[in-house]
Amino acid sequence: MIPKIVLTSDHVDFLKKVSELSGQIVTKCDQCGTCSASCPMVDGMDITPSQMMRLVQLGRREVLESKAMWVCASCFACTVRCPRGSDLSKVAEALRQILLRQAIDHIDIKSIPEDEIERLPQIALVSGCRKFTG
């Protein structure tokens, strides 16, 4: 079943929103895939980083349902390699923020078992909360 895309002004708005939040000219991406191949977390993603960029280019909100931006570890490997000089980590952050700012958290700290919390260093907990909760 191949979905048909009807491009509307809403798509344009979404692209605009992500571009503003990330400060990146998303449309510059020419889909070379360097980011995907550089990404250490890509194995755990449902769509590749370059696919994420593509969806944003077309302004398709479905990208918000994907796991990719949550699996991103902000390691900036894509950032230092992008031949077009785009900062993907900023785009992923923008997508996370769009949800987090609607108070849609990605993790529930309470659900993490007591002993694990004990084990985790502050640096992990704080950064985790900063990235995954609003």
């Binding site: 895939g33 360097t34 191949a37 194995d43 077009r84």
Partner: protein, 799 residues
């Protein structure tokens, strides 16, 4: 009383849709010496030109103003028209109401029409003072310098030599042939590169008109079109090419081993060696750096065994001096230094090589003595050093797609069991026969994968290379092992190019290659008269394009030289003898030493004078002047530009140099970019012609601000103009300061012809500044106009 005819062109609507051409024509109709003012659909058409010719005869016109497009565009056409009618081509002025009015002010008919009237007014004011000048012609010879002995230089030299012109071909390597000599085969036809190149190289050696200077480098070039003085340093080869029989005995005994340049350092050579099997001149060369020692002679074995006695340690570097009329620059390219792209581990991993390495490997395999085993699984990586901001080159190198397609096919066909992959970002098969060739590769089973590999990792034991990339079409991550990875490296300007560019004052485009005079209509010319570009020095291109461009360059050079003389507009300095007091201040101020004192009066050597006008400012007596841009004409234009100014208006004057500023204004217009109506553009050969006095007078007549637009230093035909302008500007600013007028009213900006936005912003910014400062009060203006010359020349100058 002058008899001026004014013609306002509709330009088929381009102008008339914005500007009310009728009103423009009427607006000048009233002026005393304007005999007639007409409008016409297409002035440049034959009917338009005939109209002018007819009127000149009928109404005995002796001055013509044509309000139409840019003089850069149709100027030559109308000059010819005047000549046809028996008038001097220099009593013509064009009011540029298309590029400077209709186009940038599109959608503002009223303002545009007003500005058009003012522009025509300026032209009328100037044409009134035009002189009946003749074209100047200078003799020119038939000698050409070709820099670079690659395929571009070879082709250019052959074309020129065959046409009977004297060619000096200078090549830094010991043999001509260049990069093409290293290639295996050429795409898309797959002829053997050496086989098609060597006959041409032989022709060069055989051509009586071509004087080859190999193993030589340009030391210095001075002069101008028709008289370029060249100094070449010829390195000693320590082998007499006429005696050398290429027996190779010397190589056997030579104890010094170094990497072989021809083989990209993958194989080695001795200190004494034959540069290439097809080398021209075909003789051995002794590489002094590699040799055990020549001073004192440490080894000398080569000399001992050389029967014909060709080895001669007494050779020394020699300086060769000669003069040429035109120059063709064909210094070519270097491949991108793959070591910079760290993620691919070139130089670190033994199984990662460049495409040029691969060319050599293919050559040797074809000859039956492979350099090294290549393995079964081979991957090509495209765009290495091209289209990549991380290595500072955004441009596409144009040839990599096809040479990778070529090499992959050659490898596949020589061993069909090979697995060959080409990892690309976009595959560009734009040329004749390229798409078919690409299809053939696909047919041969070469696999093309759309994705740029991110990194290569070597297995410490097997030395195989693991490549990681995304197949962006199936959206899967590919991670697999290869025996050999080939980097399709891009093209960068040859390191030697910079020196030549400096010597010849050639501009560079953003990608670092040399800049042509006009991307469409002068693709092989440069902004330096008589200097042309051929081949990859102007930008990446394949062999057919290079050869075509080389032939184009040579025919452009022939066009200049064939007549034996060439025309120049008589834009040269001249002296008002009656006012010259022989103080000599101007003499050593002329950048081209064209001024001398004869019998206590300044005299201009018209052959040397470049017509920059920078001398004028240095004359305290206003005795120096410039044809086509006389002091009176400049002043008349300035006044005319300000006559219609109302108290509420702001009016800024933009002095634009011929080379860049004025063209830039045209490009801005062509791009339909709008800017402030306040501005009036005045054309000058160089802003160094704009004297401090002229600037100050402009303010006295009511100007609110001034911009001087000049070519950036490295694309400026007058190398000294920029510092000169700076001193003029600071002088004018000082005096403004003395009389409490804001110095921010004068701006000096350097441009290259692509800086459209910058040009617009500068004009608009000045208008804003002028508005915020408001009009200059009467007090300061009065003080400014009082004894201006004293202010300018300290008054202590007495004759």
């Amino acid at each position: 009383m002058k008899r001026t005819g004014v013609y306002v062109c509709h330009c088929g609507g381009n102008i008339s849709e914005v500007v009310d051409v009728k009103r423009v024509a009427e607006s000048v109709g009233g002026q005393p010496d304007v005999v007639l003012a007409k409008t016409h659909e297409h002035m440049c058409s034959e009917t338009g030109q005939n109209l002018v010719i007819h009127d000149i005869k009928e109404h005995r016109l002796d001055r013509v103003v044509i309000a139409a497009c840019s003089p850069q565009f149709q100027g030559p056409t109308f000059k010819a028209t005047l000549e046809k009618a028996g008038l001097s081509p220099y009593v013509l002025e064009m009011a540029n109401i298309r590029e400077q009015c209709a186009w940038p002010h599109f959608g503002f008919p009223e303002e545009a029409t007003k500005k058009a009237m003012s522009l025509v007014g300026m032209a009328v004011a100037k044409v009134r003072l035009d002189e009946f000048l003749k074209k100047m012609t200078f003799p020119i010879g038939r000698r050409v310098l070709v820099i670079g002995g690659g395929i571009a230089g070879i082709q250019a030299s052959l074309d020129l030599g065959d046409a009977g012109f004297n060619v000096y071909l200078v090549e830094k390597d010991p043999s001509i042939g260049g990069k093409m000599m290293q290639l295996s085969r050429t795409f898309p036809t797959e002829d053997c590169a050496a086989c098609i190149l060597s006959p041409k190289m032989a022709d060069v050696a055989a051509n009586r008109n071509i004087h080859m200077l190999t193993y030589s480098e340009i030391e210095n070039i001075e002069g101008y079109l028709g008289h370029y003085e060249v100094t070449v340093k010829k390195k000693p080869t320590y082998v007499d090419p006429d005696k050398c029989t290429c027996c190779g005995d010397c190589v056997g005994v030579c104890p010094a081993v170094v990497p072989n340049e021809l083989e990209e350092g993958l194989l080695s050579r001795k200190a004494i060696y034959l540069p290439s099997p097809i080398a021209v001149p075909h003789a051995y060369v002794l590489d002094a750096e590699a040799c055990l020692g020549l001073l004192p002679i440490a080894c000398g074995k080569c000399k001992e065994v050389c029967d014909p006695g060709a080895v001669d340690f007494s050779m020394r570097p020699e300086l060769v001096r000669f003069t040429v009329d035109t120059i063709i620059v064909a210094t070519g390219y270097d491949i991108f230094d793959a070591g910079q792209k760290k993620v691919y581990g070139f130089g670190k991993y033994e199984n990662v090589v460049t495409a040029l390495d691969m060319e050599r490997m293919v050559v040797h395999s074809a000859e039956g003595n492979p350099m090294r085993p290549m393995g079964k699984r081979i991957a090509f990586i495209q765009c290495v050093g091209s289209r990549d901001e991380q290595v500072g080159n955004e441009a596409c190198s144009r040839i990599c797609c096809m040479y990778a397609t070529k090499l992959s096919q050659l490898l596949k066909r020589s061993d069909p069991s090979r697995d060959i992959y080409v990892f690309y970002t976009d595959l560009r098969a734009y040329g004749k026969g390229f798409e078919e060739y690409y299809k053939r590769a696909q047919g041969d089973g070469v696999k093309f994968i759309r994705g740029r590999p991110a990194e290569l990792v070597e297995d410490p034991k097997t030395k195989k290379i693991t490549l990681r990339a995304e197949d962006t079409l199936s959206r899967n991550i590919i991670e697999s092992e290869f025996d050999l990875v080939v980097l399709s490296v891009g093209l960068r300007p040859n390191e030697g190019t910079d020196i030549i560019a400096k010597l010849l004052r050639l501009g560079k485009s953003p990608d670092g290659f040399l800049q042509e005079a006009h991307p469409k209509f002068r693709p092989v010319d440069t902004l330096t008269d008589g200097v042309f570009l051929a081949g990859t020095v102007q930008g990446p291109k394949d062999i057919p394009d290079t050869v075509a461009q080389a032939s184009a360059a040579s025919s452009r050079a022939i066009r200049l030289m064939n007549r034996g003389e060439y025309d120049v507009d008589p834009v040269t300095a001249f002296v008002h003898v009656e006012s010259c007091d022989g103080c000599g201040l101007c003499v050593d101020r002329c950048p081209s030493q064209a001024i001398s004192l004869v019998a206590n009066v300044a005299v201009i050597n018209e052959a040397l004078c470049k017509g920059c006008g920078s001398c004028i400012a240095h004359c305290p007596k206003d005795a120096l002047d410039l044809h086509c841009y006389t002091n009176d004409q400049m002043l008349a234009q300035v006044q005319a530009a300000l006559t219609d100014k109302k108290d509420t208006d702001v009016r800024t004057l933009i002095f634009a140099d011929d080379m860049t500023g004025y063209r830039l204004a045209d490009n801005v217009g062509t791009a339909k970019m709008s800017y402030s109506f306040d501005s009036r553009i005045i054309r000058v050969p160089s802003c160094s012609r704009v004297t401090p006095k002229l600037m100050l007078q402009a303010f006295v007549f009511g100007a609110d601000g001034i911009i001087l637009c000049e070519s950036e230093k490295n694309s400026n035909p007058y190398p000294h103009s920029v510092p000169t302008i700076m001193s003029h500007v600071s002088k004018a600013k000082d005096i403004l300061g003395q009389v409490d007028i804001e110095q921010d009213r004068i701006h000096f900006v350097q441009f290259v012809t692509v800086m459209l936005a910058g040009f617009v912003n500068n004009i608009n910014r000045l208008s804003e500044i002028a508005r915020s400062l408001g009009p200059i009060p009467a007090g300061p203006l009065r003080r400014l106009s009082q004894d201006m010359d004293k202010k300018l020349f300290g008054g202590d100058h007495d004759s």
